[in-house]
Symmetry: C2
Subunit: 492 residues, 2 copies
């Protein structure tokens, strides 16, 4: 990559020292070069880093960390930048550390069912490399074609199949990481158990606050012999919510179990023509995987349960084309709903699934109280809600009403024992809501953990864990034409 006319002698001391550690093309400090790194998937937050580095090996990562530690410069690690909570937003005074060049699959062990990979390996690439062994890597965030395993570990990514196969934390065995001091740590074990505190689990979901991941050993699973998708239509949202519990209570563990309400169904139909029943109040998409006989048997059982739960129609897909089309509607639901109103306010919380009917009913009541429509499209089996509140910021007080409404939904999640986060991490986006979720005792403990790994607070400062000082109120995410009217990045 050319330096684009910025002479070395004009760079500051940090850049000069980085250029001594790394090849020239691995140190970016001009505005144009760094443009691709100024935001992640939450594109409304933008911040140019002081300098961007792309080390080519672990030793270079260590050298960068040692330098930054010596100079007390903040470091933000970055995978593919597909995160949705602003976790990889650069720090204006710091180094943006891209792991993109550490992109090798180091080893696949079919007997241990383990892949050992560098952090910049794409999620889907692991499964592709495991095809010859009949194996795959289960967690499948919707960005899996682009997102990298380093980012997945940092955010504890989920996906449609985490109901059955768990989150990233359940599929990670061992992690190598570089500390803020530049030391290499190896936590967890490829063997079943690991001695000492479970630092591999602690690392997973730590959002770049505790170390820079440079290698991960992940668990692989046998590919299922057979996959079928069921679509069930309901004339009532609560009935659909209750049916989710019925399926689980019957001992079935679907690969995925998704729900869409009427507004989402019709928005998706208008957008991609998936063949959904437009007159349904809600649909469930229930995917079953396993051995053929088992799947066929469970599909019949699930269809029975859905009928008994009041489904007006149940379809079982018989081929891949049918299955792909039904998923297409679900996967395009967000942009489809986005066409219905000038603005929408996207909430993301998780509740224990037994409370689905109650919470859905309450959201419906709140929708009437606040006079704002809501579209529900979400991972029902996981209790991971994504209510989309539609509003128009140009109409006086609608934004304020949407905000209060969204706040009520989050409070409801916490009230029933749920979580203010779904699968996107906290990052910048939800840092205020951490104050709703946790008491000061838990927050203080988070800070103690942070201090135990990063006493100088150099790693991804200002993300994921709010200061107690900040916890006076909570904010939430408002979307207007893809832009978020958020305050500037606050350093703390």
């Amino acid at each position: 990559m050319p330096r684009r006319g910025i002479p070395k002698q004009s760079a500051d001391e940090l850049v000069r020292q980085l250029l001594e550690l790394l090849p020239d093309e691995s140190v970016l400090f001009g505005e144009e070069d760094q443009h691709p790194y100024e935001c992640d998937g939450l594109s409304a937050y933008r911040q140019m880093p002081r300098v961007t580095v792309l080390p080519e090996n672990v030793e270079q990562v260590q050298a960068v960390m040692r330098l930054c530690h010596r100079m007390q410069v903040p470091v933000v690690a970055r995978g593919a930048g597909t995160g949705l909570s602003g976790g990889a937003l650069p720090n204006p005074d710091g180094v943006l550390l891209s792991l993109a060049k550490l992109h090798n699959i180091l080893d696949i062990d079919p007997i241990g069912r383990i892949a050992r990979v560098q952090p910049g390996v794409r999620n889907l690439a692991i499964s592709e490399a495991a095809v010859p062994f009949g194996l795959y890597y289960a967690p499948d965030p919707s960005s899996q074609i682009a997102c990298t395993i380093g980012g997945n570990v940092a955010e504890n990514s989920g996906g449609v199949h985490c109901l059955k196969y768990g989150l990233t934390v359940h599929n990670i065995l061992k992690i190598k990481l570089v500390t803020p001091e530049g030391e290499l740590l190896c936590v967890g074990s490829e063997a079943l158990d690991s001695a000492g505190f479970d630092l591999a689990a602690l690392m997973t979901g730590s959002e770049g606050m505790l170390g820079v991941f440079v290698e991960a050993s992940v668990r692989l699973l046998p590919r299922p012999e057979c996959v079928r998708l069921l679509l069930a239509a309901f004339d009532d949202v609560e009935k659909a919510g209750a049916a989710v519990g019925d399926i689980i209570a019957a001992g079935i563990i679907p690969g995925g179990l998704e729900m869409m309400d009427r507004m989402s169904i019709n928005a998706a139909e208008d957008f991609v023509h998936a063949g959904y029943p437009r007159d349904a109040a809600a649909i469930l998409l229930c995917e079953l995987d396993g051995m053929r006989q088992e799947v066929d048997e469970q599909a019949e059982q699930a269809a029975d349960i859905l009928h008994r739960a009041g489904a007006t129609e149940v379809r079982i897909t018989r081929d891949e084309a049918e299955r792909t089309l039904l998923w297409k509607g679900r996967k395009s639901a967000f942009p489809a709903v986005g066409r219905l109103a000038p603005d929408y306010y996207c909430m993301d919380g998780t509740i224990p699934r037994r409370h689905l009917p109650k919470v859905l009913r309450r959201i419906g009541e709140l929708s009437k109280e606040f006079g704002l429509p809501v579209a529900n499209v979400f991972h029902a089996g996981d209790g991971n809600l994504h209510p989309l509140i539609l509003y128009d910021a140009n109409i006086s007080d609608e934004l304020a009403r949407a905000e209060t409404f969204g706040g009520k939904i989050l409070e409801l999640c916490v009230e029933v024992g749920g979580s203010i986060t779904g699968e996107h991490g906290v990052g910048m986006e939800k840092i205020d809501q951490m104050c709703v979720q946790f008491e000061s005792a838990e927050l203080s403990q988070f800070h103690a953990i942070k201090h135990a790994f990063d006493p100088d607070a150099l790693l991804n400062p200002g993300k994921a864990v709010p200061t107690l000082h900040r916890c006076a109120e909570f904010g939430a995410m408002h979307v207007h034409a893809g832009q978020l009217p958020f305050p500037e990045l606050e350093r703390f």
Copy 2:
């Protein structure tokens, strides 16, 4: 419980203050009263605590912790005392805090598939309470009839079925704990995901070093419709080891996959007459569970694989009586082997399963080199080894040879990427071997974590994580007539 003649006025200040916080019968300070608490399942380590308390509710636990914090008195938490690594060994200057009176199942949620229980609830009692819902709690340490969930969480307990269903850490959702300062913390979430650092996973396996657990929400699973056990005989240990990998590589995930070598087989046969083939060099016990059709299909497939791997005989159980008898031999293998020699030296380590044949061969070679017989009986699917080195401490240098031999086996586990721990925790027993497993960078990080939760080092001091100072050499466990010739508890 009567006070047995020790007047309150003779008790020290700590005891007097505890008696103000708790009912009289919940504070034990006489030698006779405290006798049951002086050791856990590793009975060769014995130590009388200064005082034993049995609080009846969370508030009393908090009050005890606040008092101990104020007086800077060490606290050792204890469940049922069935642990095998001395993790619950009392501290002579401290309080032994039994959670036995917190033994209520608080809630079972069949839709969320979650049981919320107090720490003193027995492992098996959870599954028993879940029977009406067709559910059970999967981790099944062999002590499951007696051991409690608090201890299971502290030790990250395993069991025969952790190959398929994971360790305790994979089955715990939320933990309430009391800090050394007496504060109540709630970590994890009954919802799928939890915001902030994954402190619930960090707590699991922390061996009483980070907090006192007062409540756990555990995941329940649907009971399998059908269970079958296969027995496969081999004329060669390495072939049996390779067959383990073949089964896994074929995409089968057995509920359990156990291995016994000739010496174990014959010792078990002499002891309980399980019907094992006495002339086999090794047997595998492979349990399959799931839906009936699936299990039948997989049993046939596994039998084929075992035959192709060189099995001289494969049996598939058809009823519970047959299955129970075959398991009885496995479960009595340790005491059975114990009858073959005056002393045995029990190792417990885990290796990646692909290295099973190599490690088994190397153990056989070492057995010849050292002139000491070894019996192997272990969780083969998990790569969790339990070599039992037979020796006679009355014969000059046999103890020293057994010790060196055992050390070689542990080094071998670490060398192939395994772990010095299996499923029993580190406790007192393996604290020296932690120095083999970890570099000082990792050990320092463990200390930083400990400091983040327990800066005064009051919780279970001297267990699980060695000081760097201690890491000059490692020891191991020698059994002579059930007694361990270990040095006195070292405070550090």
